[in-house]
């Protein structure tokens, strides 16, 4: 079995996988809060900012009857697993998977931000924070891949 590993250059002296994992935990925390609140029939608290109630009670906040935040929890868990595994193994397919999934998430976040701004007429700061963390994760994965791409090490696996 051939395994491919990407040569990794640290970011600020830290393995990028660890940075991605931390951002995934941040996203997981935000999505978990929104999920718990919405599944209990409540609305998230925005503090002095407003708009969470309108977004959370809109038809766009659910897909198939399930709050969008629940899908965010699932995505964050998968991304966190990929980031940690990549951090420990440097297997480049894991980085690619993290990049691809975060890109799909970013595309949805762009759509959701459009809906908030131009359809619902309100912005949920929690949702936007999650989206920003996702964009950051996507950018980091992309940069790491581009910086590590020229040198790919092939070696036979134990199998």
């Amino acid at each position: 079995m051939i395994r491919r590993r990407v040569t990794v250059q640290p970011i600020l002296g830290v393995h990028p996988g660890l940075i991605l994992a931390v951002l995934d935990v941040v996203g997981l925390a935000i999505a978990s809060y929104l999920s718990v609140v919405e599944l209990q029939g409540g609305v998230p608290q925005c503090g002095p900012l407003h708009g969470c109630e309108q977004v959370a009670t809109s038809a766009y906040s659910r897909i198939g009857g399930v709050p969008v935040a629940v899908y965010g929890v699932g995505l964050s868990l998968v991304l966190l697993t990929l980031a940690i595994t990549w951090w420990r193994t440097n297997l480049y397919v894991l980085l690619l998977a993290h990049y691809g999934l975060s890109l799909a998430g970013v595309i949805f976040e762009i759509y959701f931000l459009y809906v908030q701004l131009f359809v619902i007429g309100a912005v949920c700061v929690w949702c936007t924070s999650y989206g920003l963390s996702l964009i950051l994760r996507f950018v980091i994965a992309l940069v790491v891949w581009l910086r590590g791409n020229p040198t790919v090490i092939e070696e036979p696996g134990s199998g």
């Binding site: 619902i120 992309l142 040198t151 790919v152």
Partner: protein, 296 residues
């Protein structure tokens, strides 16, 4: 290359010997770039394409036909020009027949009644002064944490404070969405209110008031106590009709009641009569069950 003739003695020689003896397949191979593949076949590009497709599918599923946002509101066929309108009431205060309409803004059978029969009722019976219609919006459809009926009714109450109740009311029914699926959210209520030409500043201030929703709860409880079990329910000079009556029969009944009525109309707050209605309700559309039952 020939094998070294003697056994290694120094550390350097032993390392060199070990490198020499290592099987070839275990050596790491450094591959630089992907010179044999076209750029569009690189893993990054292929992954990006896959992610774009996945993202597009998610958006399609999530937004469905809402990707471009909701379309323009359908305008009701009703006209209140020249009619006496007072909050939730339309028609002459001295009309001989008073029809109370118990309805829920999310009730599809109520939509059927209003869309199909209200324009004709206004033209044929309210305008000549035979009928006064008093709307009695109640909240019986909200379930599972949904507050759409409650919020729609609160919006109607706030519109009534500006005497724009019927414009708001009709816009909601003409553009009614599904039950408890999020179609009647705050954005929808705002769009309807704007289309009804209410003062949005006062409207939003009204919606934010803490006391605007309690009368809806009280009215719903009072209706249930009066035996109002589903919507729409009509109470015409005390006679109760459950469901959507055929227009011709409803028209004939009101004309007959108007002819029989004394100059002073029956009080609207009179308790529900046990008199059986003389008109048969219209079969409700599939899925409505003839109206929306009050949850037990």
């Amino acid at each position: 290359m020939s094998r070294p003739p003697t056994q290694p003695t120094s550390r350097r020689e032993r390392r060199a010997q070990a490198r020499y003896d290592r099987p070839a397949p275990q050596r790491k191979k450094i591959v630089r770039g992907s010179a044999t593949r076209p750029a569009w076949q690189s893993p990054l590009v292929l992954t990006s394409i896959g992610a774009l497709v996945i993202g597009a599918v998610i958006i399609f599923v999530a937004g469905g036909f809402k990707i471009g946002g909701p379309g323009p509101l359908e305008l009701p066929e009703t006209s209140y020009s020249g009619l006496a309108v007072d909050g939730e009431t339309v028609g002459s205060p001295t009309a001989p027949v008073v029809m109370e309409v118990f309805s829920d803004f999310q009730c599809p059978a109520c939509k059927l009644f209003y869309v199909e029969e209200l324009p004709s009722l206004l033209r044929d019976l309210v305008q000549p002064g035979l009928l006064r219609i008093e709307a009695r919006d109640i909240d019986i459809i909200d379930r599972g944490g949904s507050t759409e009926s409650l919020e729609l009714t609160a919006g109607a109450f706030c519109a009534a404070e500006q005497n724009r109740y019927w414009e708001f009311h009709d816009l909601v029914f003409w553009n009614q969405g599904g039950e408890n699926v999020g179609d009647h959210d705050a954005a929808f209520i705002s769009r309807v209110a704007e289309a009804a030409a209410v003062d949005m500043t006062a409207f939003n201030a009204c919606l934010a008031r803490g006391d605007i929703r309690q009368p809806i709860v009280d009215r719903t409880s009072a209706a249930a106590a009066d035996g109002i079990r589903s919507t729409p329910t009509l109470r015409i000079n005390g006679q109760v009709i459950v469901g959507v009556p055929l227009y011709d029969q409803l028209h004939a009944m009101i004309v007959q009641l108007a002819a029989q009525a004394s100059p002073s109309p029956a009080p609207s707050a009179s308790p529900a009569s046990t008199t059986q209605p003389s008109v048969a309700p219209t079969p409700a559309p599939s899925g409505t069950g003839g109206g929306s039952p009050v949850p037990s």
